[in-house]
Amino acid sequence: MIATLLSPRFLRNALPALSLTVLLLAIFQLQPRTMSYFGLNLLLNLALPIAFATIAQMCIITVNDLDLGIGSYVGLVAAIGATWLNETPLLGVAALLGCILIYAALGALIHLRNLPSIVVTLGMSFVWLGMALLVLPTPGGTVPGWIRAIMTLKTPFLPFTIYAAVAVGVIVHFGLMRSAYGTVLRGAGGNPRSVARAGWSLLRTKVTMFALAGFFGMLSGLSLIGLTTSADANIALRYTLLSIAGVILGGGEFVGGRISPIGAVIGAMTLTLAASFLTFLRLPPDWQIGAQGGILIVVLAFRAVINRAEARR
């Protein structure tokens, strides 16, 4: 039993949940009042948009690519959400669907021309940001009431964010980890040649994953404006780096299709909490992102130690 608990594989899988628990306990210790409905709501308020962005990034990482434009894409969605979607809902929906189509097309372009995804998505980050500025030149806009209503839902026992985050993790887990086609999608990240030899189209897997990323990025933007009530093209630029960090914190690997949707959600929550943690430590908020980076490094260091222990066996 103890041997299982100490086995590298178990430790590696438990690491994301473990780091979240440790952080949460530390916060409860420092400020017992957070152990309440409102306390948790305050702590995890912004976790949901980050979780969606992290899931989007994870979809891209599954097929061995990286999205450096997701942050500005979330900003564009936020801008569309706070303008067109409110004023002319049909145009808003069409624009959002168009964005997802562009994502799918990016996947096809990267696959067919064998391009480095970093550069393509970096270029797209300019495009998304520019489009967001065109849609919404100055911060503001009005968020459709229904989005606001969903995001401020009063749920029993625990804040809405927690239910929603769990639901997202579980749904994506079933979609990617348990479903039949999800298996092929991950296989395409693990050993593309073997998947192609088994008769699957690699173009289709890549387009699917990029379209999914576009979809979850859209959810990220919409849930974000539901909380902030107004939008700004630059609102989510930090999400690019946060989402990558969230995937890695959640136990995902950079290459090889090794991902964990539930881990990614946990990673996103850990990053959100890390920011709040400092406030309770009475450290200046300046150290917020530093703490996020520090946690990332510590967790990766643990993982390196575990992997080495495994290699030695």
Binding site: F126, V127, L296
Partner: protein, 322 residues
């Protein structure tokens, strides 16, 4: 007859130089701008382009060396390094001219230390470079914020004068950076280190089997890139009247963009320093042109993005399996 053939060969040779495209594009954009303004301010625009392009070129050189190491190599900590080095050096100099040399050394040392830290994460903890430089950028960005206390720290007056001085319309800083670029070109092509970088980027395994010190070369490259970012943070603080906390922000994308547009291969193994200048001028002039045309920031950004994607789609494709 022979002369015509020589000219033709020269023309083909030139066309094979990818940096030429960046300069040609920069020239066309400049031309379009001054045609629009009916010849007004052409010189000033060029001078401004040189001054602002300088900073992209300084960090671009470091990023280019890193990217040339091959797929997966990129330094995302450049903005944090710039901010940190800028804030630390400005604070230590405390606007005293006598401290400028100390401040410069501090900025360079900050950069070098961050580079060592980055490579430590990459090598010792086996973290992919993107994640390693990303996480260290979080830490150092915060450190800079905490250290700088959110105030814009003024540079010593002499430094501010030096970074904004011009000789016959040419910014002194740009002249220095041209010299830096020349030196780095020589380093790239004429030293064992530079050759090693290019060799590793083309074929890391073959490089190792040819007796190249792969680990050492990678170490030097990451440290050098961060040191240049430190230098850029120092001069940019002088140029823009102090170290501010988001002064590095735009240079993450800019450093990669000038490398790609300048004709360096993203797949590694082929680097191009003149192209950095062409690309930096082009990026600045493009913004100027679109401003002159009265187009907003939105169109400008969309154009920039589409140009990067077009360049990589046209130039890429034949890249390696990764």
């Amino acid at each position: 007859m022979a002369a015509a053939r020589t000219a033709a060969r020269l023309a083909t040779r030139l066309l094979e130089r990818p940096w030429l495209w960046a300069f040609a594009a920069a020239f066309l954009v400049w031309l379009a701008t001054i045609i629009f303004t009916k010849g007004q301010g052409g010189g000033e625009i060029l001078s401004a382009a040189l001054a602002f392009g300088t900073f992209s070129v300084i960090v671009g050189i470091g990023q280019m060396y890193v990217i040339t190491l091959g797929p997966g190599n990129v330094d995302l900590s450049i903005p944090a390094t710039m901010t940190f080095a800028g804030a630390a050096s400005m604070k230590i100099m405390a606007t005293q001219d006598s401290m400028i040399v100390v401040g410069l050394l501090i900025a360079l040392a900050c950069g070098a230390a961050i580079g060592v830290f980055n490579y430590g994460l990459i090598r010792l903890m086996r973290i992919p470079p993107i994640i390693a430089t990303l996480s260290s950028s979080f830490v150092f960005q915060s450190a800079a914020i905490a250290y700088g206390r959110g105030i814009k720290i003024k540079p010593p007056p002499s430094l501010a004068d030096f970074t904004t001085a011009r000789i016959a319309g040419f910014p002194i800083l740009a002249i220095c950076t041209v010299i830096l670029a020349l030196v780095m070109t020589v380093v790239l092509h004429k030293t064992v280190y530079g050759r090693s970088v290019i060799a590793i980027g083309q074929n890391a395994r073959a490089a190792k089997l040819s007796g190249i010190a792969v680990d050492f070369t990678r170490f030097v490259t990451y440290v050098m890139c961060a040191t240049l970012a430190g230098l850029c943070g120092f001069v940019l603080s002088g140029f823009s009247g102090g170290a501010s906390l988001n002064m590095g922000a735009e240079f993450l994308l800019a450093s990669i963009a000038v490398v790609v547009i300048g004709g360096t291969s993203v797949a590694g193994g082929f680097a191009n320093i003149p192209g950095l200048w062409g690309a930096a001028l082009f990026m600045f002039l493009l913004v100027t042109m679109l401003n002159t045309f009265g187009l907003g920031a939105g169109i400008r950004l969309v154009m920039t993005g589409l140009i990067i994607i077009t360049v990589i789609t046209v130039a890429g494709g034949k890249s390696t399996d990764r």
